[in-house]
């Protein structure tokens, strides 16, 4: 199966990735090959087989009490932020 330029652009948009013009044909080619590779699954007989979401069967996801376990460390965390003001993360204006 071959993916066209528009499909690559639409996938990249959904994934929030900007691609250069030079990247598009490269991904067209490799994504098409990968879609072919995973297409081998089609032939597998899976009627009545439960989808496996967790590698350890029978183990349920653990819950914990809904209580605060961490102190406020926003200064420490925001040291890694590209732009911060008054303890807020800054982004370009969203609402005009």
């Amino acid at each position: 199966m071959s993916l066209n330029r528009d499909q690559i652009n639409s996938i990249a948009h959904l994934a929030r990735l900007s691609l250069t013009d030079a990247e598009i044909p490269v991904y067209q080619d490799s994504l098409s090959k990968i879609v072919d590779l995973v297409g081998q699954l089609e032939a597998a007989q899976t009627a009545g087989i439960e989808p496996m979401a967790h590698p350890l069967p029978g183990l349920a996801q653990r819950m914990r009490p809904d209580v605060v376990t961490e102190g406020d460390q926003h200064e420490l965390y925001q040291r890694n932020a590209p732009q911060v003001e008054a303890a807020l993360y800054l982004v370009p204006k969203v609402i005009e």
Binding site: A15, R16, S18, T20, K33, V38, A44, T46, P51
Partner: protein, 489 residues
């Protein structure tokens, strides 16, 4: 002092043949001398290593030392280290200084180990050759023109060149075992949930597992015991006691039933590699094991299954990198959408973008059932294959990788060829079972690894089976000539 295993170093430190500080300085010197050849490290933490070494020397002198006190190691740069740059091999995190320690790091620090630095890796652990790192490829110490494997290529190269006696690593589809095989060292991927994933930067959360690359199974047993265990901060961590892995290393193998996966020996396996595996199996027969052929009919579908499940989880996990809270941000974004798209487009490398897009595609409306649900059903079949096999046999033995290390650049332009490197390792991740790769000989002067897989939580058995082989052979003691002490001081 750098050709010693961890077990030997531990006894020599106690016999006061040298101090932790002397050992640490010597290894830091070797790391520096090897860096231009191997590129195995992203960050060397000399100052904090020497501070940890001094504390360890004091603990040893005052009788406060534990079994791992003063033993040096390197961490794969996927593990968050407080106050130390943690890049995951990506431009996206080139400026990221972790505000906290991964549980693995916290535990090994508490055990008194000395962190020498952070090892290079494929970007976000996506790759089988270490060529996708933002910091450039790692070289294979056996031949600098060849790849070390990946994604834990820096950890494997560092241990193979004996610039670090042991290193942490992670394995999502073979990222511990395949580089261990290509570099001639030991690599263990524990059972899913055995080692905490807290602070281990996520790639595919139902497959990722932390482990070790070491010189021997004995060394891995020493550190795995301190690294494994329940962690309430990892929601899939399993609350099962950690057995004494060192205590069971020498259990006799008489009566051991070894399964040989028919599908792995049938086709595609290099005949030289196969011969070495067959030779190793003879060693096990001599030790009292019996061989049984087993069939895992769904296993040949493990690569296509993985390339649905792993990219799907990756596209979701890597959505957190938005250029807002941490990580790379583009210059002069014109609006929020532009900020997201260009920060991610610039911050991620080609392979990471490829996998995010594959994941986005297979999860998108109209394709979800055909790809993602189908892959989860096939994953169930593969899991059932393993379970049936382990009803019959104690362990499965076969090759780790289809061939020895390949040239840098040889497979870089063809993702499918690259993905097929993990054809023998991916099954264990899909089924969540533990597996170890140990060196079993050389083809054309390059190391070959043998893989031993077991049922869930059988790490002790795997280490026992691997150790028994390493007592009978010395493949694991071979090291690349260019990095012997007289060549690299």
């Amino acid at each position: 002092m750098h050709t010693f295993t961890l077990a030997e170093l531990a006894s020599k430190l106690r016999a006061k043949e040298f101090s932790v500080t002397e050992l640490t300085k010597s290894l830091l010197g070797r790391i520096e001398a090897s860096q231009s050849k191997l590129n195995a490290f992203v960050t060397v933490t000399a100052d904090s290593a020497l501070a940890q070494a001094r504390s360890a020397d004091m603990a040893l002198a005052s009788g406060q030392a534990g079994p791992l006190t003063g033993l040096p190691l390197a961490h794969k740069d996927i593990f968050c280290t407080r106050g130390i740059k943690t890049t995951c091999g990506s431009r996206m995190l080139d400026n990221f200084v972790s505000p906290y320690d991964a549980t693995v790091v916290e535990k090994l620090n508490a055990a008194g180990m000395v962190t020498l630095g952070k090892t290079n890796m494929d970007e976000f652990a996506m790759g089988s050759s270490n060529e996708t790192s933002y910091y450039g490829p790692v070289k294979n110490p056996w031949d600098l023109a060849l790849v070390p494997g990946g994604s834990s290529g820096g950890s494997a190269a560092a241990v193979a060149a004996r610039v670090s006696p042991i290193a942490t690593a992670t394995d999502t589809g073979g990222s511990i075992r395949q580089p261990a095989s290509l570099c001639g060292v030991t690599g263990i991927k524990p059972t899913y949930g055995r080692v905490s994933r807290y602070g281990m930067i996520a790639f595919a959360s139902s497959l990722d597992q932390g482990g070790l690359i070491s010189q021997s199974a004995e060394d891995a047993a020493m550190v795995l015991g301190a690294m494994a265990g329940f962690d309430p901060r990892d929601s899939t961590s399993v609350d099962t006691p950690v057995p004494d892995y060192v205590g069971t290393l020498n259990a006799p193998l008489a009566g051991l039933k070894i399964g040989l996966i028919k599908e792995f020996f049938d086709k595609g396996l290099d005949s030289n590699v196969e011969k070495l595996i067959r030779d190793a199996l003879k060693v096990y027969e001599k030790l009292g094991a019996t061989l049984v052929e087993v069939k895992l009919p769904a296993l040949p579908l493990s690569v296509p299954t993985y390339y649905v499940v792993a990219p799907a989880e990756c596209s979701s996990n890597l959505a957190r990198f938005d250029g807002v809270r941490y990580g790379h941000r583009c210059e002069n974004p014109k609006d929020l959408m532009d900020l997201y798209k260009r920060s991610r487009g610039e911050g991620f490398g080609a392979e990471v973008k490829r996998r995010i897009m594959v994941g986005t595609y297979v999860l998108s409306a109209g394709y979800f059932d055909a790809y993602y649900l189908k892959a989860q059903r096939v994953r169930q079949l593969i899991n059932q294959d393993f379970r049936r096999a382990f009803d019959e046999v104690d362990v499965l033995i076969g090759p780790t990788a289809p061939d020895v290390a390949f040239a840098i650049g040889a497979k870089a332009s063809d993702p499918i060829q690259m993905y097929l490197n993990d054809i023998y390792t991916i099954g264990a991740n899909l089924a969540g079972v533990p597996a170890i790769s140990i060196p079993c000989g050389f083809v054309r002067g390059l190391p070959v690894g043998m893989q031993i897989a077991g049922p869930h939580f059988a790490e002790g058995k795997l280490l026992n089976v691997a150790h028994a082989y390493q007592k009978e052979t010395d493949w694991h003691r071979q090291m690349p000539a260019a990095f012997k002490p007289e060549k690299l001081s």
